[in-house]
Amino acid sequence: MKNQGKWNRREFIVKPILWAGTASVLAKTNALLASPALETSASPLLQRTLGKTGLTLPVVSMGVMNADVPGLLRRAYELGIRHFDTAAGYQNGRNEEMVGQVIKEMGVRDKVVISTKQPSRRHSQNAAEAKRHFVDGVEASLRRLQMDHVDILYHHAADSVADARAEGPLEALQSLKKEGKTRFIGLSTHTTVNVLSEATRLGLFDVALVMLNYTMAHDTEILSTIEKAARSGMGIVAMKTQAGGTVKPDAKLPKELPAASQTALLKWALNHEFVTTAIPGFSTYEHLEQDFSVARNLAYTQEEEKFLADRAFLAEAEFCQQCGECRKDCPRQVDIPRLMRSHMYAVQYRNVGLARETLASTAPGRGLEACGSCESCLATCRNTVQIARKIAQLKALAVSQLLA
């Protein structure tokens, strides 16, 4: 983390790839063949500093959202996890109650970093009302947590620039920090580019909780935005590192993906040094041990390498690499890469708000409305993306008013 400021735009994209490449070479020489589980006691915990907060954390933390089991927190602490993330909205506040009770019983409040999140009200209201509502919500969280303060308080799901700027929650956050009810303030967002850019510009947030996963591997706009925020001193915590996007082990599937896929995805996110820590949401002891094994070694194993490099997987996933080559084929100069990003947000991330914003940010005459007069799509992807099919899906979404 200390060298992070020296990375340039190219390096932060290239370094993780070089890392992967190096790991691949080492893997072929059997130097990295150990399974993740075997690495747990071999090397020291990897720790990073959370931006200007100065907090030092192991790279793997715990998103408590899905865990309603006190033993999991106890085991997580026993293994070395020191950051626990919850929210007022998780299980109607019961998640905070459980976290607070376990931390109290263990007597380790001063040894852990607790974060919680408070949403702003969606109804329109004036700033004073919004601030009062936000503060009241945080006071209730502190009561449930049985704590006089949290370490990080996020404005939960600040998914628009207006949310990030909203006077009420911002004043509430600053006031609560001043009163010592939180040591640091931040926001969580699924709309990384716009919101994080605004948060960086504002310079008021200590920490940002952002989605980061392998489906974003070629999304230079997202990656550079996060890196810029980190360079400004904002601590970056990654969420949805394994669950987001295409690679989500869908609950409807009969089996979960192999263990190597989960550790590979977590490592991919953490191999971006601008990320201080990730908060995977494991809910079993088995997954806890599996995820935490990553905290001692971010080099990919051979199986993980294969997972990330599998051509069939990449073809199935149809990741748009944002190379822009397809633009040359389109007679109407449609901004196809942006449409592909919008499709990814709508279909793979299930984040319609972000998809809508991405569509809206297309230059006039270069968006979805410009596409349509050709008998068949003339644009061809140099990789595997079926452009025409994805644009047709986007149009269907727009017709249904989902993206209107």
Binding site: H123, T246, A251, D310, V352, Q393
Partner: protein, 309 residues
């Protein structure tokens, strides 16, 4: 290794196809938009909030509908647990009555067991319970209850909001009709020392173990000592035995586990540092476990076994 890769690809492909298909499906079914009811089921759903309404409440906007794909728009990451319980659709609408503002969220969970599961995941035994539906509770500005396949969440603010919540709850309970009882298995389990309103139905990872799902979980308390009774529902006696063996294996690896035939069929006593002590046995296609058992834990376990069908 090739087989592994192919299997992974197939699974991921399936996930992608499923996600895409669902997104397309949701797009055509008016998800997440404050729009006109697009089909019969939505019209029927919306009719739960038809006029007349208490306090001459007037809708502030048309009803919004959310399906499994669009629920994230409304409740963000909180949607995950609803999807786990097979969430079908959400009817959302805001009302105003005088100075009071009211928000109605009615979650259609498709069946009574899943409705109870999500409701119980969000309620605490410490809440103030009210007699409505199968079970309900209230706090200032909030009244939630479950009935039949619906989980109803009402929130309000402003003068007389609490009274309005009550009136809306009664009205909706009457219009919903159907089943007003909790899952039958819960009625069978021992009542002595049971913490009221502590029952849960856990679809995923009960006690942090995927192999125990699904399970009913009930809290018992004696002299300030709380114990969790878990009734894991397997498809067969053989599967229950397998689950019990996995539980024993886990404790052998993480602490200790010994056979305890005095507890009954497949009885074990186990402990480790982070979960504490546990006793367990099987009964037909159930695994019954008691975490942090009191002195008379064996009796509770046996009573639970006798009560099961």
């Amino acid at each position: 290794m090739k087989l592994w890769t192919r299997w992974t690809t197939v699974l991921i492909g399936a996930a992608l196809t499923l996600a895409t298909a669902q997104a397309q499906s949701s797009a055509f079914h008016n998800s997440g938009s404050a729009a006109r009811p697009a089909d019969v089921s939505q019209k029927k759903f919306a009719s739960l909030l038809r006029e007349p309404l208490p306090g001459h409440a007037s809708a502030q906007a048309p009803p919004s509908f959310y399906n499994p794909e669009s629920l994230y728009q409304q409740i963000d990451g909180g949607a995950d647990i609803y999807l786990l319980y097979d969430f079908k659709s959400l009817l959302h609408q805001d009302f105003k009555s005088g100075a009071a503002e009211l928000t109605v969220d009615i979650y259609d969970m498709g069946g009574t067991e899943n409705t109870f599961g999500i409701y119980a995941a969000e309620r605490s035994p410490t809440y103030k319970f009210v007699a409505i539906g199968a079970e309900g509770y209230r706090d200032k500005g909030v009244l939630n209850f479950l009935q039949d396949r619906y989980y109803v969440k009402l929130s309000g603010s402003g003068a007389n909001a609490d009274g309005l919540l009550d009136q809306f709850a009664r009205l909706l309970s009457g219009r919903i009709g159907g089943t007003r009882t909790l899952p039958a298995l819960l009625e069978r389990l021992p009542r002595e020392h049971r913490v009221p309103h502590s029952e849960q139905y856990v679809r995923k990872d009960p006690l942090g173990h995927a192999f125990l799902a699904p399970a009913y979980v009930v809290t018992y308390a004696q002299a300030k000592q709380e114990s969790k009774l878990v009734v894991s529902v397997a498809n067969s006696a053989q599967e229950a035995k397998s689950r019990s063996e996995q539980l024993a294996k886990h404790f052998k690896q993480s602490g200790e586990c010994t056979s305890a035939p005095e507890l009954g069929e497949g009885g074990i006593r186990a402990r480790n540092n982070y979960e504490g002590r546990l006793i367990a046995r099987t009964q037909g296609h159930y695994v019954i476990a008691l975490l942090n058992p009191p002195e008379n834990g064996a009796e509770i376990l046996k009573a639970a076994a006798r009560s099961l069908p």
